[in-house]
């Protein structure tokens, strides 16, 4: 099969390497999205026992269970159910949460912005600080200078990278919320409530990523083209930001992308530390309470977000560093 399509594709890829790369990545994401839909649909059918029976309780009459099944469309053949399910997802009809007694779409509309803001702010903070810290550490310790500083840097970052977000969250709550009483320890409207959760989410990742940024930067600083840049006697700002930064950004962004999808998991944990009214607390509550419609919808949403983020990272890298598209061919 590959050999049949190969000649045509090579011709296209030769002429438009970037376009071919984009198409390949988008195609891959569509396949994964379909897989996610099938899995999340299958999830309800894989639940042991009868979810409708579980919802209505053991004493509900059989007729009520049948009626509820018909209402949910569970008496339809499986392909029909899947079609209905996908249609429901596309039209925003996601069923009703059995615990909150609200349409799932409403629950999500209310909670998604809270989670997105939290994760988004944390991501920006992580990228900015880890690139800055990592580059500064690299410039300070290049060619084996400041070996004491290097040891301090790797030990400190190693320590913070190991502490899980939720433990860090608890520690921050205790130190800055309870003892010092500087910041709110749980969700409330306003900027101050974001400080501790964002810190809990970002400190570990900053530590992990800035270590990688340092090593990548050291690599770049030793490259021949940096010698050329130095031979031009450019100001330090241009030498580091224009000549070094783009060359270490590819690998940093790749890892940052992985980290961002990991951040979705971490957000779930941190939201639960800070009683944050986001998707993370909702999904955990819904799983524990066997609120399947809500759990299913949030799973699809979070899964799709991960896939879209990965695609976006690939595309950005393709634009920043055209070699990465070439390398794939």
């Amino acid at each position: 099969m590959v050999s049949l399509t190969a000649p045509a594709r090579v011709g296209f890829a030769d002429k438009h390497p970037t376009a071919a790369f984009l198409l390949r990545r988008i195609g891959r994401m569509i396949i994964l999205l379909l897989l996610l839909l099938v899995l999340s649909f299958a999830m309800i059918h894989l639940v042991p026992g009868d979810p409708v029976r579980a919802e209505l309780g053991p004493r509900a009459p059989a007729s009520a269970v049948e009626a509820r099944k018909a209402e949910l469309g569970l008496d339809q053949p499986i392909p029909q159910q899947f079609a209905d399910y996908v249609q429901g997802l596309l039209t925003g009809d996601l069923g009703t949460s059995t615990t909150l007694h609200l349409p799932v779409s409403e629950v999500i509309a209310e909670r998604l912005p809270n989670s997105a803001r939290l994760a988004g702010i944390a991501f920006v903070v992580i990228m900015l600080l880890s690139i800055t810290i990592g580059m500064i550490a690299a410039v300070m310790t290049k060619d084996g200078r400041h070996s004491g500083g290097e040891l301090a840097f790797t030990s400190a970052t190693g320590f913070f990278a190991t502490i899980p977000e939720f433990v860090l969250g608890v520690a921050l709550v205790y130190a800055f919320g309870v003892e010092l009483d500087w910041f709110p320890v749980a969700y409330e409207p306003g900027v101050a409530a974001y400080v501790l959760p964002v810190a809990a989410l970002s400190i570990g990742s900053i530590a992990a990523l800035s270590r990688i940024v340092r090593v990548e930067t050291l690599d770049v600083l030793g490259a021949d083209y940096m010698r050329t840049a130095r031979s031009k006697r450019l100001p330090a700002r241009l030498t580091y930001l224009r000549h070094a930064l783009p060359n270490m950004l590819t690998s940093t962004l790749t890892l940052g992308g992985l980290l961002l999808s990991g951040l979705i998991g971490a957000t779930v944990l941190v939201e639960n530390v800070f009683a944050w009214p986001g998707l993370g607390t909702a999904v955990v509550d819904s799983v524990v309470a066997q609120d399947y419609a809500l759990a299913q919808a949030i799973m699809v949403l979070l899964g799709a977000t991960v896939l879209i983020i990965n695609l976006a990272v690939d595309l950005i890298i393709g634009l920043i560093d055209p070699r990465s598209t070439i390398r794939e061919l």
Binding site: G158, T162, D224, T228, S261, M299, V306, P322
Partner: protein, 640 residues
Amino acid sequence: MAQRGLVRTALRTPTGALALVTVVLLIVLAIVAPIIWGDKAATANVDHLLEGGSAAHPLGTDNIGRDLLARTLVATRLSLVLAVLTVLVGAGIGVPLGALPTLLGRRSARLTAAVTDLALAYPALLLAIFLGIILGAGPTAAVVALGIASAPAFARLTQTLAASVAGSDYVAAAHVLGLSRRRVLFRHVLPNIAEPIILNVTVAIGYALLALSGLSFLGLGVQPPSYDWGQLLTSSLNRIYVVPEAALGPCVAIVIAGLAFNGLGEALARASSTRSTYVRSPVRGTTSAFEPILPVADQLRVADDPVLVVEGLTVTFPTADGTIAPVRGISFSIGNGERVAIVGESGSGKSLTALSLAQLVPHPGMVRADRLEFLGRDLSDGTDPEGVVGTSMAMVFQDTSTSLNPALRVGTQLSEVAEVHGGLRRAEARRRAVDRLREVRLSGPERRLRQFPHELSGGMRQRVMIAVGLMGEPRLIVADEPTSALDVTVQQQILRLLKEIGDDTGASCLLITHDIAVATEMCDRILVMYAGRIVEDIDASRLWEGPAHPYTRALLAAVPDMDTDRDVELASIPGRPPDPADLPTGCAFAPRCAFATDKCREDRPPLLLDKTDSHRVACWHPQQGSVVAHEDDRLESEVG
């Protein structure tokens, strides 16, 4: 055996030792804690509900009066056991999955790799929640989910390792001998990749422990009445205002366990990677070795209207065995518009000489000079207050595939010089860039500005590199082996271009090359370097009538015919250049020289001007007359 050696190496670092001791302590605790404190942890005491820390209960008590310190200690067992189970599930799925390609062949290998890549990108926690829905929240779902989630990492690792082992000679031999794939896998591949996989297991236990605590913390892992650290933390969290020490126990336990397993894994990995190649870091700051190599009796006649004057230039590098000096007190000058070549074998110090002029010697190298003047400005202290190097000295480097920035367009790399040093606006700088690209005879200059270096050929890139140098107002072009990475026809074009540019702009040129034929073709004067010193300084026009130094004569005799491959470096001079860390006391060339006497071996000959006042040579037995063809044959037989 190998494993024990590894642990011993890991133990030598303090962090490795600490991590190992902690891990052992945790294992001991996991075994004995439930036996010793099991009862205390389970005993409810209605008189001491939800208490804070006290002598009897250092971390306080929970909602039915059970001692929290005892519970934290007892929870070690369940926390650890679940983490180990998770890793067993992960390795149990991942390792066979990764080894599968070795069994099945190429096509399925690619498929498995694609699947693992995709699975790696999916967060473990979401998978755990997904399985929690299907299996119900509890430790089974948590262990299975985290196990599955960690499987891709094991699969990827196994796959990479197996692929490298499978490509090795002994596995190829096993295939030739007709061993089945299965036998190859179990006999040859798995034993050889066991060590890195075991290392990874250690780190994975740490991660699993943290992730499981997280799930229990969320209420998706261990369910009451069972308890692990995560579960204990959850039940203490809502009391953090009143009894913060209640949350302290599980927090500290999680952090210590995580750090210990990660630290041990890292220490083991470091030990396994450094066991074979242990490199000592270079000793720093010993400059005492400087002095004895500087007795400058060398003579220098400074050119009229000099662009560059160098006296006593020395470059030193600290190494583990003391300081070495690849450039040893050389003196030369370059006149206005003059083209000078430095010729020498690799290791002669010629490239470092070029780099030191532009103050680009890499750390920890140190540059010293009695006199280093460029355009009348003193650069000997390593500074360049007026910025003459940036504007008036152009550097052309050897390997254009690495010397141009791969992430920046050609236009940026050209115009920034004019923007920074000439104060030109972007549009003006780009106009000048187009102009310079035209000067270096590059076709379609406007289009080239928008291209990236990888879109150009090697010869085109070298033209760009030269154009970069021309963006300022260069008075000296330093070209370090500008044609070595190019093929022969392009070499000629680039050399011609450099010459034309010199003629057009009046800039002087310092060409660094190992090819004396190129040097004579291109330059007015030739400096021959050997073991960090200039041994001869001669006009190119006089070279063929007779250089004085035996080394120069050997180089000339070794010049290949038209059809010989020029990439082969001076293959026909007998012997090897000396090790810069171990130079002979006298003339460095003496061991390879047919004319060497005891004087040569004892006293270093100074570089002295001859009576013509333009020719310098450092030799006790200067030769005369034109070079006999294949004089090197005689050299070889006598050195023999």
